[in-house]
Amino acid sequence: MIALQAGGPHVTEQVEGLIRKEYSAGFHTSIESDTLRPGLDEDVIRFISAKKEEPEWMLEWRLKAFRAWQEMEEPTWAHVHYPAIDFQALSYYSAPKSMADKPKSLAEVDPELLEMYAKLGIPLHEQEALAGVAVDAVIDSVSVVTTYRAKLEEAGVIFCPISEAVHRFPELVKKYLGTVVPQKDNFYAALNSAVFSDGSFVYIPKGTRCPMELSTYFRINEMNTGQFERTLIIADEGSYVSYLEGCTAPMRDENQLHAAVVELVALDDAQIKYSTVQNWYPGDREGKGGIYNFVTKRGICHRNARISWTQVETGSAITWKYPSCILKGDNSVGEFYSVALTNNFQQADTGTKMIHIGKNTRSTIVAKGISAGRSQSAYRGLVRINAGAEGARNYTQCDSLLIGDRCGAHTFPYIESRNSTAQIEHEATTSKVSDDQLFLCQQRGLDAEKAVSMIVNGFCREVFKELPMEFAVEAGKLLEVSLEGSVG
């Protein structure tokens, strides 16, 4: 339900969305795929690299990550439980077959793919109607088509699949890839570095304001295929970009691993706004199936730069995600706005890290967690003020809302301060939807479900208002659908 709709959402569609109780994006498009045998060794990495015709340095970079990964252990500190993942049983590469000869225009694109986008509401064939948004649609591993390339090129903005950037802009990729999230950063980041399939590459030149919001849709489409996206966004001095990421996956029974890495580099005076709506398949009512979402997202802020993460997390069986900011430059600003909703048997352990290094750095964290059914949701955050971070400032607010007596909501904030001039405030509350509020709404003629959805929307308002318009509308609707069946 995260589609961007031409001409805005229609009321009738909203009503329909409410009636449909099942995961509405749960369909499966059958496209013949070129899938690699399951298993992971150096040969697989060589194969992926060769398939993408990568230069030698890229292969070396992957192998280095792979060797580090072999020495590493899976993290177990998160407040989530799941059966052990057999990394040798996964397949690490798949690409739609019809991609062999790359389509130059929409007419050449596999009609089945186009149909799937239409279901998702990505109107590639209605590009004019989609004014202001360029879509780099990714199915599994290979970017299919990129729109609005021309207009962006005019502004000097580079927005292309990272596999293409490796060929076209090797210097930029070499300079920045792995500088924010090093290959050995953590278990899943190392795995991603070794086998990453594709993803987006964005470069905004000095002093440029990106003329439109950039958007990528990811979609996991192939049975048993882990997807390893790698995104690198570089905002050069004084530039601005707003990036939207939306996710939805077809319904299926087997758990799928998704280990993405997103790196943001905001050079002096630059600004990056990164918004995510994540609605991958969360598993069914009994907790069967669903996506394992183990993501590493991190941005680095140079002098006077600003990075803002906004996320709405409603999908995935397990979410393990901490979009972070390294506030390296003086006067830099980090922001994190999050809504994490879990229902049925979902588990989420999400939060952020704000590392204050520069003077007068500021960070704001607003995290809203909603747990329903038998789900568990946790906020885990770190605010670290280094000794040199004179005048640093942090404000953190995490609120949890509980719906139903078998769910859990947890808060684990770590606060480390080494500078006496820093000021840190942290506040957290947990409560349930109050009976008084419900009573008031019901007395005004709303049914219980509608009332809860209204209260939840109000609860998340602070975060929603940070989302770009199209997303904000979708997000509200998404929460409504995700909460269905959890009341009464």
């Binding site: 500078n419 006496s420 947990t430 409560s431 349930k432």
Partner: protein, 441 residues
């Protein structure tokens, strides 16, 4: 971690067991000691990767491998300042009972008993056997196992049904340097039966010389239905001392626990509070103050678990951290699935007065029931600059303004203390501390 360090740590674990073997305790405590020894030896030694010890290094403890038990009552401990309070007093010096300083052996109030384990009668002994080592959560408090392994003697405070202890129980633990480093294992068991009331003051103090000791102090408290306990735990030992403390409390239906704790002064102080709400409608409040300076580390870990519905918890901790000191605070509130209608609040505020000081705080909420109201807050900052400006504009010197604001910050908690003797003692102590400026620079 290198192999060398690993070996050293195992050395301390081994050494601790040797020390356990040297304890001469009665046969009826043998089972508990055996259980403790086994847990201690099988436990993983904490490192930076151990969540409960993430910020608190135990290297200082390694140096204590030559430490021994103090067997004879050390002389000349006059310089330790005690509370002036009319109380049932027990004094221990380096772990050795001091009959001269104490005033309990004399018949105390009719139905109550304040006795040492070694002089307990059969009835009291069965009470000790029933509760000792049964209230502690050794999973979260490693040194509780060590305390079990080391147990030789201790103090039992037992208040029978509906009895009220007229005078407070005042237990003083004095530390004084000896030629060899010393180790002391303090054990206190409080059993309040239905409707009983008592007040307990635990005072850890030393003479003014640098110390040379390791203190492991464990207090277990069982509060039955409708009973209530007022508990003070004052930790003011001097430099060069390592203090590991644990307070484990079980609360039954409508029981009340009201605690206050303060820590200031030694190389490393690590104090764990474990509060269990086991019956409906129980209430616990715990306030704490920590004032590390120089190179001191103070680490408070509190864990409040709500097992039953309708219970309330209120927790306030405040700290001022100066010099190169470090404060660690971890306040966990855990609401188990059936503990509906819980009300729990925790606040932790810190002032950093030096750029080399560090504070690591982590308030945690873990909630598995829905009909609850829980909140926590944590702040780290320096003294309010506008308040400083205001005072200075009124002609108050910068130094005095700092003293006034710091004292006020802590005094908000002190002035709520119901026990006048404790309040006066601490206010006096802090005034001296702040005026010499050592806590603020």
């Amino acid at each position: 971690m290198t192999d060398f360090q690993q070996a050293q740590q195992t050395d301390f674990q081994q050494k601790a067991l040797t020390l356990a073997g040297q304890q001469e305790s009665p046969a009826w405590l043998a089972a508990l000691r055996f259980e403790g020894s086994e847990q201690w030896l099988n436990a993983d030694w904490p490192s930076r990767r151990t969540e409960l010890w993430k910020y608190t290094p135990l290297q200082a403890l390694q140096k204590n491998t030559s430490a021994t038990w103090s067997r004879v009552l050390p002389q000349g401990v006059g310089s330790a300042s005690l509370l002036t309070v009319d109380a049932l007093r027990l004094v221990f010096v380096n772990g050795v009972y001091d009959p001269e300083g104490s005033n309990v052996g004399i018949a105390s109030a009719d139905h109550t008993s304040v006795v040492r384990f070694s002089s307990a009668n059969a009835e009291q002994r069965s009470l000790i056997e029933k509760h000792l080592g049964r209230i502690v959560n050794t999973q979260r408090h490693l040194f509780a196992s060590l305390s079990n392994a080391w147990v030789q003697d201790g103090v039992l405070v037992h208040v029978p049904r509906n009895a009220v202890l007229e005078k407070p129980v005042y237990v003083v633990y004095v530390s004084t340097p000896e030629s060899e480093p010393v180790i002391a294992n303090h054990r206190l068991l409080v059993v309040l039966e239905d409707g009983a009331q008592a007040e307990l003051i635990e005072h850890f103090v030393s003479d003014t010389q640098p110390q040379n000791s390791f203190v492991n102090a464990l207090t277990e408290i069982s509060i039955a239905a409708n009973a209530s306990l007022q508990h003070y735990r004052i930790n003011l030992e001097q430099e060069q001392q390592i203090h590991i403390g644990g307070v484990h409390i079980d609360l039954q239906r409508d029981a009340r626990y009201s605690g206050f704790t303060i820590a200031e002064g030694s190389t490393l102080k690590r104090i764990d509070y474990q509060i269990n709400h086991r019956g409906n409608g129980a209430h616990a409040s715990l306030n704490g103050v920590y004032l590390p300076r120089n190179n001191q580390i103070v680490d408070y870990h509190t864990n409040v678990e709500h097992w039953a519905p309708h219970c309330t918890t209120s927790e306030v901790f405040r700290g001022i951290i100066g010099d190169s000191a470090r404060a660690v605070f971890n306040g966990r509130i855990l609401i188990h699935p059936d503990a509906q209608k819980t009300l729990a609040e925790l606040s932790n505020r810190n002032l950093l007065t030096s750029d080399k000081a560090e504070v690591d705080t982590k308030p945690e909420l873990e909630i598995y029931a829905d009909d609850v109201k829980c909140a926590h807050g944590a702040t780290v900052s320096q003294l309010d600059q506008t308040a400083m400006y205001y005072l200075q504009s009124r002609g108050v010197s910068k130094a005095l303004a700092r003293t006034m604001l710091s004292f006020g910050f802590i005094n908000e908690l002190l002035q709520e203390l119901p026990q006048v003797a404790v309040r006066n003692y601490l206010q006096h102590h802090l005034t001296e501390l702040f005026h010499t400026g050592t806590a603020l620079e």
